[in-house]
Every structure is written in C-alpha cells, then in structure tokens.
Amino acid sequence: MKKLHISTSINGDEAQFICAPDETLLDVLRDHLGLTGAKEGCGTGDCGACSVMLNGRLVCSCLVLAGETEGAEVETIEGMANGDDLHTLQRVFIEKAALQCGICTPGILVAARALLEKNPDPTDTEIRYWLAGNLCRCTGYDKIIKAVQAAAAEMRSV
C-alpha cells in the first residue's frame, strides 16, 4: 500500500504524519502520534469513545480515514485542559464522580464540550440525546448528566 503524507493541525499545533490509506484518524492519533486519550471501544461508530472534533464537528475518529485530514483542524481530549488547569467539565466530572473505569470519559468530555458550545443551557433530555452515541458501561449515565448540568451552570455564571 502506498503511504500517504499528511499535514494537519491537532489541538492548534501543526502535525505531520505518514499513514497507510486504510488507517483511521483514531489509529494515527493513538499509534503514530502518542495521543491515546481517544479510545477504541468498537471501531464502528457505536460507542463514541473515539470522539474528536474535526473542522469544528463532533465525529467518531474511528470512522474517519487519516488521509481525509489533510489540511484539517483536529481537536482531541489532549487539548481540553490548559496546561495543568483542567477544563470545567473535566474538573466537575472528577468532583461529581461521573466516571468509574474512565474508558468512555474522554469521548464524553469532548462531546459534552461541543454540546455546551452550541447550547449552554441544555435540558437533561437534550444532554441524553446529544450523548446517545457515547456508551458508558459503568456509571448508568445519571452522574454524567448531573455533571454536565453542573459544569454548564458554572460555565454560564462566568
């Protein structure tokens, strides 16, 4: 297979990588770039553990070919905290224990941030529908919804 040479922007930094045409963005993030925050739960778009932003849209990185990201802007969970300063969502998830094993958490945080940017004051139902593509096998979701609401309230007040 002829390799592709791709230039892209990841969390605001220029990134270059060489990949096989059948590698996904998730493969490249995890295996070539050492960005292992995005997880592979299913590889088929069902679990959302691999969620990233691609040109400002929430997507499953397991369903994006790495070759498609030439010239694109990719944002991953690694770009969410500002140095040691956690994003409000990250901090509130810890405070409210909205995670157990944590496998789903990076994807849920990226997805929740995208929701709050679009809708700073969502209802519980809106949060549940928005996160319907993010599966969690541990928490039963209630703590996640409550944490998103608490973070949203805090973010609205600043």
């Binding site: 088929t44 691609l54 070919l65 070759g67 997805a111 319907a132």
Partner: protein
C-alpha cells in the same frame, strides 16, 4: 487500497470507471468505514468527493433547494430554509445515528448504501427528490425513487457520482413528515418507516399526496394507491383507513430479530397514518 482525492468530477468518474477492482466513493464514510472494518467490503480504491465544487453547498434553486451530496446531517439540520420547506426530509436525516454520525453522514451516502431501512430515503421519495448524477457520459437527473434496486444495490453505473439532490418548490399549504419505529429511543435500524408529503387546497382538501415506506420491501417503496386514497378528502376516517389498507397491501417485508412480517406490516400502516396526520397539521390542515 488507494485513497484518492481527484481534482474534478471528470477525473473522479474516470478513475472509478477505470478501476478493475472494488471501488467506493467516500462521503461521510459511516457506511464505507464500517464495512471496511467488518471486512464486508474491502475496496481497492476509495475516491473522496467531499472537496469537489458544490458538494458541501445548499443552494436555493427555482423555489426549492439543491443539496450538495457531501452535506452532512448536522449541516442540513442547521439550514432553516430547508427545514421550513421540507421538515420531513430534515427530520428523517436527523434521525440517523448519533451526534457523531450526524457530523459526517450524508443523505446521498444513505441512499447509495442501498439499505431498505435507510431513514432519509422514504422522506426523499415522498418529496419527489431528484438526484443529479455525474457519469462517464456527462450529467443527468434521476428521481431518487429509481436509484435503489435491492438491498445494497443501486441503478448507478460504474463512474456515476451523485453530485446533489434537488428538493423541489412547493405551493402554499404543503408539508411532509417522516416517522420510523425502533425498539430503542436512539441509535437503531428502522423496523418500519413512513414518509408522507401532502399538498392541500386552502380549505384543507388534500390535492396531492405521496406516501413512501421503508424497511418493508427489498427497496423503499412509493405506494401510489395510498396517496390516491387521500386525494380529494379532508383526511376523514374512511380516507385514512383506505390509505392504511393500501400501505399494508404493498408491504413485502422479511421476518428477522427486529420484527415479523405481520408486525412490520401493521407498524408500517400505523406510521403511515401518523406521518400523514403530522404532515396535514404542518400544512395547515385542521381536523
């Protein structure tokens, strides 16, 4: 496998036309990549078309809208003009998958993947949508209805690329609706579905009706007799019953873990009825 981003449509068609192995056009990839991962379809050539001229645009045209083939569900849902004119088509597209899938999935990919349960297709068929195709011999327009030919199969020839879907203008007092039944509230494949588009006279009498069903036959079906049963009525009980009967009579589903033949048939009739009533109310009809 090769991944290619051709410079123009002509090159794209020629590339696919000249490929001896398996080729796939890539839109949002939410079917193509799943099939690749599952080793169901392992293409030798993937041709990305999302960057080509007009593919990501929604343009007003002759009172209707031309929707580029690479417009995602999320982009379509944010377009107030299309949503106002064809709410049923937009709600059908928005039902597909999760927020993440919406960020990528396209109506055209949904159509060309050829699933009889594809959610946007009954709505597009009810809307009498027309696909514009760029092929080896140039450009042509084909009704969406004529594109699926069976599960996973379409009438498109090698080298054919859909560039846009046209949703036509509509008179006053006209609207549409789409409903599907799934056993969960999100992220599942339709057991049965119905798209209905209605045009009314100012007094609420139905002047034209198109009823399309999904997941109850090898392809999405347009049930002409169901539409005809509504025309000339104000959707009284007898007209609705005749419409449901025509819809049920057309059903030729499979039995599987999602539903038996009887269940799918009955559900399709119920959904056709409910979608009809929603479209009627949206069109300003009062019951």
């Amino acid at each position: 496998m090769r991944y290619v981003k051709p410079e123009n449509l002509k090159d794209a068609s020629a590339l696919i036309g000249g490929e001896e192995g398996i080729s796939r056009i890539l839109a949002g990839g939410t079917d193509v990549l799943v099939q690749l991962k599952a080793e169901m379809v392992e293409p030798d050539l993937i041709v990305d078309v999302k960057h080509l001229d007009g593919m990501r645009e929604i343009v007003a045209e002759d009172g209707g809208y031309r929707i580029g083939a690479a417009v995602s569900g999320a982009e379509l849902g944010e377009h107030t003009g299309v949503k106002a004119l064809w709410p049923g088509v937009v709600e059908a597209m928005e039902l597909i998958g999760s927020t993440q899938v919406q960020g990528r999935a396209t109506m055209v990919g949904n159509l060309c993947n050829g699933s009889p349960a594809a959610d946007s297709v009954p709505a597009m068929v009810a809307a009498d949508a027309v696909a514009r195709i760029h092929g080896l011999a140039g450009e042509r327009d084909i009704p969406v209805l004529d594109i699926p030919t069976g599960p996973g199969r379409t009438s498109l020839a090698k080298g054919d690329i859909i560039t846009s879907v046209f949703l036509p203008a509509r008179p006053d007092h006209a609207s549409d609706a789409y409903l599907r039944f799934i056993p969960r509230t999100e992220m599942d494949i339709a057991v049965a579905s119905a798209g209905v588009s209605l045009e009314l006279d100012a007094d609420g009498t139905c002047r034209a009706a198109r009823v399309a069903l999904g997941a109850v036959a090898p392809t999405v079906v347009l049930v002409e007799a169901a539409g005809a049963a509504l025309v000339g009525t104000k959707l009284d009980d007898a007209a609705i019953a005749a419409m449901v009967q025509a819809a049920e009579a057309t059903c030729n589903p499979i039995s599987d873990k999602r539903g038996t033949v009887e269940y799918r048939t009955k559900t399709a009739g119920v959904l056709a009825k409910r979608a009809t009533l929603i479209a009627y109310a949206r069109a300003g009809g009062q019951k």
